[in-house]
Amino acid sequence: MSYIKKPAARHPKLKVNSLGLTVRDYEGSMSTLCAGCGHDSVTAALVQTFFELDVEPHRLAKLSGIGCSSKTPAYFVSEAHGFNSVHGRMPSVAAGANAAHRDLLYVGISGDGDSLSIGLGQFCHAIRRNVNMLYVLENNGVYGLTKGQFSASADIGSTSKGGMANEQGPIDPVNTALSLGATFVARSFSGDKDQLVPILKAGLSHSGFAFVDVISPCVTFNDHQGSTKSYAHTRSHMHEVIETDFVPLRTEITTEYSEGSVQGITMHDGSVVKLHKVADEYDPTDRRAVLDYLAEVGSRGEIATGLLYLEEAGADMHGFENTVDGPLVEIPFADLCPGSKVLEEVQKEWW
């Protein structure tokens, strides 16, 4: 904490968090996205999330691939470390970074082209590895940056700006993540900050791969009539399966959880996620039931949103690898290099 730059003089009325930082300190450089782009709203939600969770800016590592969505890490928390890598391959960079330094907070931002086309393999394997990070997929059904081609998440029948309808079935990242055993799966909408922020907070607290699919309309190439990832379509077809409250560790927990419609899940770091369920029988910890429920909602043409599935117990990548508790980068060289004595010993085995 001692290494946070002193905040510049601010408007005295701006709220400060426990680090003495204002929400401004969590902003990044000016967005260069189109006015109205859904991605900018996700950025705003992230800014609020980090501010409210008292995240130390320089302890945050923000990564992305390539695309309009992948540009957004530049637009929040300037004093975090950012890495805009190559198209579709951010998950591996994040896994390697996390392997080296497990104590930072990792947030990965990706797009549907980035994660479901070129990056599908890496996306799936990051899930399998349960890399401890918040992974936000800004899903607009198109390749924004290359000017509007359908992506693999485009729904059947969704039309392009030119009027052509997509015929191939979509790869639904939520369904895919659940099928592959993801431990935290949520879907939200860039236009619904109230829903999104608590989900992002919960995701950041999750110890493992926290996947958040955010429908984030592309106003330039996929916000017309006929598009199923437009603001209008998403607003009118959104079905909130579950409402999320996030109670950070430091807040005293006073609420009692009533049976039935509210479920409280304690995160690894002691925070609590409270899930208000729309349907009593919905159990966000029963993978198969969730898949079935989503399929049902989906078959009605509706888009289920909320923190859909959560499993806090599983091992993350470091659990599988049995890595030491602290960051590998902080181990002194003396503890890494076995030295000359050992070298002599080893060589005795070399005949």
Binding site: Y3, K5, E56, P57, H58, R59, A61, L63, P73, A74, E79, A80, H81, G82, F83, N84, S85, V86, R89, M90, P91, S92, V93, A94, A95, G96, A97, N98, A99, A100, H101, D103, L104, G121, Q122, H125, R129, M317, H318, E321, N322, T323, V324, D325, P327, L328, V329, I331, F333, D335, L336, C337, P338, G339, S340, L343, V346, Q347, W350, W351
Partner: protein, 609 residues
Amino acid sequence: MARESDYGVNDFGLKIATVNGTGSASANGLLLQALFRMGIPVSGKNVFPSNIQGLPTWYEVRVNKDGYTARSPDFQLGVAMNPESYARDIEEVVSGGWILYDNSRELDDEFRRDDVTFLGIPLADMCVEHFQGSRIRILMKNITYVGALVALLDIDMDVVKGMLQEKFASKQHLMDANFNAIELGQTYALEHFDCPLPIRLEAMDKTKDCVMVTGNAAAALGCVYAGATVGAWYPITPATSVMDGFTEYCRRFRVDPDTGKNNFCILQAEDELAAAGMVIGAGWMGARAFSPTAGPGISLMSEFIGLAYYAEIPCVFFNIQRTGPSTGMPTRTQQGDLMLCAYASHGDTKHIVLFPADPKECFEFSVQAFDLAERFQTPTFVVSDLDIGMNDWMIPRLEWDDSFVPDRGKILDADELEKIETFYRYLDLDGDHIAARTLPGVHSKGSYFTRGSGHDKYGRYTEDSDAYVEVMDRLLAKVDSAADHVPAPEIFETDGGKSVGIISVGGCHWAVLEARDALATEGIEIDYLRIRGFPFNQAVEQFLEDHSTVIVIEQNRDEQLKNLILLETSCAREKLQSVRYYGGQPLSKGHVIEGVTPFLTRERAEVLQ
């Protein structure tokens, strides 16, 4: 038919032909180890198919009292255990040589030769008689031929028994079986043949300061000693054993004694692209991270390598070369990726490359690669090959200086950051073309945005020509400046300056050395420089200047090393001659002599001055 050739005590070649997956590897290892323990310089080359079981496989042993370890295709003794490959195996033995075979089944007449001696032993029958169970019979057949070789070559039986005792200390029944088999073979040979043969062994003391190891094991140990903590990889022949070795050594030396947890993290990636991404992510965080792979892996990593170059992220790649292009011959050796590693990725790029010639250098260059990668903040390649990486090599014992401090390059720590006004990631403040970096999580003043897209020296995104060019020019100068820091070439010069020089690289070294000695005995003295790093050290330029003819010897079709010299030095093309062998076997003296001779005859007068 193979030609007759010189041989003698402690100086001969032997080739064992078996079927892979039958346990012959451990029998052959036993043999090689015995020779080594008798103090006799020896080398072993495994020639194996790209499958797991049931195909012909060979093990070539060269015994050479003078310490030459290059492959030699002259085999005085053939151990022909695989009827499938009899034709070739029998033909390969030199005239006047011997062929040990299993005469449980009679040898077809077509395989007979008059100019070699056939030594038939009913190995299969003997094993059926003496051992129970088909698996053990197959295994013991191998040990039995080793027993026969004990007699035929005069191997020290105590050494062999000692080794068996070490190996099977806890498995009495296996020890018994092995003793039994060894003695069966020995006894049969003693009874039926004139033992020992003229090619035979005599104990020496030439291996006592040496060890026997593969390049991949040594490279793996180098990574441990360099302090590498993150290894990411995708299995591929012949690089797999680098990570196998790293895993093994880490489990032994890097597990926290208190917690039982690992001071390392080895990620088996889903493919080479992911492995490269992981290494880059870890390098960004400040870990020493590496990935071992082979040619196809480098091709797949190309995009990521360009990112690491342009964003200046330290990372180390081992390319254990195999025969290309494409899948090529995955179990054969080659030096076919020299150009690729030097310039991998689209756009203007250039990389640091180290070329070890044996396991000793695999160890040392591993350590150095991490230093160079961090100092120059750029991808660094250790380019080895299947021969170096997977075969057993006799090398001088490795040494380690406990005062070694890794060169982490310019990294600003929290205190330094606290003191400065503003940190700019790509600003070269002292004119050495290297900008200081910071590590994530250390201090908010150190934060910056890493990207593969256009950026200026302050680390800001740019599409401006001048700002872009400025960074690119520094990058070129930076990597070029590594020329003085990569391992300097090894130079062998004769007394007077000679007009003809040889330049070679990597595992070619041993054949070149041997050929050079052979030529010297005929009065032809040649200077020789072995390249060990790229960008080329000034000494390379000097050597080129000092010689009017330079013969570049390498193991690829397209003269890749010669091309690198053409591109990266000021040497006139006319000076450069090329000798290439790229059939997938390690280079041998013969290749070199045959290759250089045409150039020597022309230059001979001069050479002899």
